[in-house]
């Protein structure tokens, strides 16, 4: 466990630079930046849930609420302001405020895991129902009509700050999203490196003990809930620009389920896992969308059931364990048998503690 605690805030800069280089060079190899962009957006959404669920142990069953709210906030604000800079800021602020309010209500009320699931689910349902019912002229915010089931089309897309006529789309838009994802990853690492992040890990491991050590547990939980919502809101705003329409479908239960599937398949308790899961499964979803033989939700459901039953810790930790157990041992064997023996003892001890 100690190893994991110290690893949580550590960046392997070599890997990070390699990853950043791959992300930024990909458009030169692949023509289809449209697909790349949406996969990156889903990675950002998965990262936001992975940070909160994997490191603070808070599972939101309605994370799509903040994703959708970010998208709607962006659409409404960009119509009213006519440009995207303030709108993008609001797309993070509005979900963060809502999450802070709901989080404060739940965490200061000492509500347990299961009820937390119910409340987050119900919040996303309320937004879904409300947005579906906002057809007609009465429901408007400034110049933006909410449009009910049909959603809001035709809002301004991303532009260079200060120059509303210079719109960013296509490959440059991909670069913006990719850099945003890299920055959010660094921010998450920094959070985990800071005292705040250490306390979060403490809460995940033993809430009562952390509380007795004098930390304000509800405040920490509310803060990370709010940060995660802001990140999801940013992803929502990017998604709105990508699809150029926002609909109540963004709040749907299926959307929340999908994010959870990305995170649990990729690996809980890692940051890379959820992003990798989002890219893998997001790509699978796009492929499935191109044919009509097998239904998309059938495959996603099957994956979720199998992931919970067979690899509850996710693929990334499983691979890490595999690497530790077999590949390291392979190297160990060459350097001498006494080293191998020590390794084996240490390895089994670690396994027990982390399970």
């Amino acid at each position: 466990m100690n190893e994991e605690l110290s690893a949580a805030g550590r960046i392997r800069w070599g890997w990070f630079i390699a990853w950043a280089a791959v992300m930024l060079l990909l458009p030169m190899v692949l023509e289809d930046t449209h697909t790349l962009t949406v996969l990156t957006i889903w990675s950002l959404l998965a990262l936001s849930l992975g940070l909160m669920w994997g490191y603070a142990g808070i599972l939101s069953f309605g994370h799509a609420a903040y994703f959708g709210l970010g998208a709607y906030a962006y659409a409404i604000a960009s119509i009213n302001f006519g440009e995207s800079t303030v709108a993008l800021f609001l797309a993070m602020l509005v979900p963060a405020m809502l999450a802070a309010a709901i989080g404060a209500m739940m965490f200061f009320g000492r509500i347990s895991d299961v009820y937390l699931g119910v409340i987050t689910l119900v919040v996303s349902l309320i937004l879904f129902k409300f947005m579906n019912a906002t057809a007609g002229d009465v429901y408007r915010i400034g110049d933006a009509r909410l449009g009910g089931f049909n959603g809001i089309p035709g809002f301004p897309i991303l532009n260079v700050p200060g120059f509303p006529s210079m719109e960013i789309w296509g490959t440059p838009f991909y670069y913006v999203v990719a850099v945003a994802l890299l920055l959010c990853y660094l921010l998450s690492r920094w959070i985990l490196y800071s005292t705040f992040g250490r306390v979060l890990l403490g809460i995940r491991e033993n809430e009562l003990r952390t509380e007795l050590l004098g930390y304000n547990v509800p405040l920490h939980k509310t803060a990370i809930f709010s940060i995660s919502a802001a990140m999801a809101g940013l992803a929502g705003a990017f998604f709105a620009m990508w699809s150029e329409i926002v609909t109540p479908g963004l709040f749907a239960l299926g959307q929340s389920a999908e994010v959870i599937i990305y995170v649990i398949v990729g690996g809980l308790g890692t940051l890379v896992g959820p992003m990798a899961g989002a890219i893998l499964l997001g790509f699978l979803k796009l492929l499935l969308g191109e044919q009509t033989l097998i239904d998309n939700s059938l495959v996603m459901g099957l994956i979720l059931v199998l992931a919970v039953l067979l690899v509850p810790s996710g693929i990334a930790p499983q691979l890490a364990k595999f690497r530790k157990r077999y590949i390291d041992r392979l190297f160990r064997q060459r350097s001498g048998s006494s080293g191998r023996r020590r390794r084996k003892l240490g390895g089994s001890g670690n396994g027990k503690e982390s399970s």
Binding site: L59, V114, V118, I260, I261, D295, L298, V305, V308
Partner: protein, 288 residues
């Protein structure tokens, strides 16, 4: 006067709807502390079973009251054996796995029946109440709910099976030391819960219509009704069902149906904040 009677009947119908669609979930949650997020899909499967039997020419009442519960009960048994039994004691994992199952069922039904909405004709015609036309089938649903709840109460309170079930619910270790295998009890409970959900789906299908995704409409309401009700099966579902049903219909009549649903969901959040153990965790503690 007629209007008041209609409002009253509508409230009664809404309460029955909530109680009927959530009692299957309540059995599973109350006895096993397992939240089955595929519950809505069990209800939906009950509806589709009734539809399939109806188009095959079987009497619709026989289909919804006998075939639907048996079919969905078998599905529930399979789900318990294949998935849920590996996850007892891991509440969040159970919720995730059953959520996956719910997506799986939606996909399967879409494959078999297609994704368009289908309806079943209501087998009971309407009647005249003063100057208003009322659906006679609503009364049938209210009746079915009363019969079902009474039956469940009698079984739980006065039979040997009910005694064992209540014992296992209160203290699984003692029940097991007295010779009742908790695993068998859990398996049967899950099957019974699924069967009741199937019955609800069959009975409600003519009024709600059917879509592969219609389970989602049931699960949210059933979920909040059961969680707000708390651990006691019958008292819990009845108390929260009455509360939510009344709020929903009153606000629906005052404003519109969407506001009714939103009012119900907001009330659920407030109640959970005030009473995290549910209504029966605070009041009526020793009820069934």
């Amino acid at each position: 006067m007629d209007y008041a009677a209609i409002v009253f009947l509508e409230i009664l119908y809404m309460i029955s709807f909530l109680v009927l669609s959530s009692v299957g979930l309540a059995i599973v949650f109350g006895m096993m502390r397992v939240i089955n997020l595929a519950h809505g899909e069990f209800v939906m499967l009950g509806g589709y079973t009734t539809l399939a039997c109806h188009s095959a020419g079987i009497n619709i009442f026989f289909a919804m009251l006998v075939i639907a519960p048996i079919t969905v009960g078998i599905v529930g048994l399979l789900v318990e054996r294949l998935v849920v039994r590996w996850l007892y004691g891991r509440m969040i994992d159970t919720m995730l796995a059953t959520w996956g199952l719910s997506l799986l069922f939606v996909g399967l039904v879409t494959l078999i029946f297609g994704s368009s909405a289908v309806g079943i004709p209501t087998p009971i015609s309407g009647y005249q109440l003063g100057s208003y036309q009322m659906g006679g089938y609503n009364l049938f649903i209210i009746g079915i709910t009363i019969v079902l709840i009474t039956l469940m109460w009698i079984v739980l309170r006065y039979t040997r099976v009910g005694l064992v079930a209540r014992g296992a619910m209160q203290n699984p270790e003692v029940a097991s030391s007295l010779g009742y295998n908790p695993k068998t009890i859990y398996m049967l409970t899950f099957t019974a819960g699924a069967a009741v959900s199937g019955l609800a789906g069959g009975v409600l299908a003519p009024l709600t219509g059917l879509l592969p995704s219609s389970g989602g409409a049931f699960i949210a309401k059933a979920f909040i009704t059961v969680i707000t009700g708390g651990a006691s099966i019958i008292t819990g579902v009845l108390s929260s069902g009455i509360l939510f049903g009344a709020i929903n219909q009153v606000v629906s009549f005052a404003a519109n149906p969407v506001m009714g649903e939103i009012a119900m969901l907001v009330l659920a959040i407030v109640l959970l904040r005030l009473m995290p153990q549910g209504i029966t965790g605070r009041f009526f503690r020793n009820s069934t």
